[in-house]
Symmetry: C2
Subunit: 127 residues, 2 copies
């Protein structure tokens, strides 16, 4: 059963999107593996204190991407392979990187300054 212990709710983005990204980042980190079982909609909604429909929306989007397999009556499971994992990695990691580079350049930051910023803050940020 995939754990949501380290899930922290933040405001600013929709809850269903936070759930979706939590799972995708777990995939990229190698913490979530093929055939892993997901908590049921009702259980996870209870754990997070949100409406079951909100969890369903996240799961539905993941199923539309082919990352989750669901069949009525049984627990939903992760449906992964090397190609899918690599696709998610690119989608998350490279898009994040490009975005932060774009905004930094708009602020006149050089590559060297950007790297120095990463080095300076890397150990400050709590995981």
């Amino acid at each position: 059963m995939i754990s949501f212990d380290s899930f922290v709710m933040e405001d600013g983005s929709p809850i269903y999107m936070q759930i979706l990204l939590y799972i995708k980042r777990g995939i990229v980190a190698g913490k979530i593996l093929h055939d892993d079982e997901l908590p049921s909609r009702r259980l996870l909604s209870s754990l997070l204190g949100v409406n079951p429909n909100t969890v369903q929306k996240a799961y539905k989007l993941l199923e539309d991407e082919g990352l989750i397999r669901s069949q009525t009556g049984a627990a939903s499971t992760m449906c992964l392979d090397e190609n899918k994992i690599e696709f998610v990695r690119r989608d998350l990691l490279e898009r994040d990187t490009r975005n932060v580079i774009r905004t930094m350049r708009q602020m006149g930051v050089t590559q060297e300054q950007a790297i120095r910023l990463i080095e300076r803050f890397w150990n400050e940020v709590e995981s």
Copy 2:
């Protein structure tokens, strides 16, 4: 008059927020200076193809932060000093950096890999 030539509209975030961030990044980059005149709400809304209220919302938020001075009848002007600029720099640069570090660590990326990502994509991203 502050130029919006390099402003590119993107979807995904509110227009008023894109306008606000465009100005703040211009401040950090040193392209926007104290006493610089802003285009009027109606002119900028016409340039960007949006409603004057959308521009007004961005300007209003900047005025609430003390970065813009507005008086009815006259053009709004930038209202900056060293402290304000430094505050905006920290607010934008450090928050962006912390955010990208947090998500990268959630994906199991090491500091060395993060720096390598920055180096690899730095010259690819169009400004």
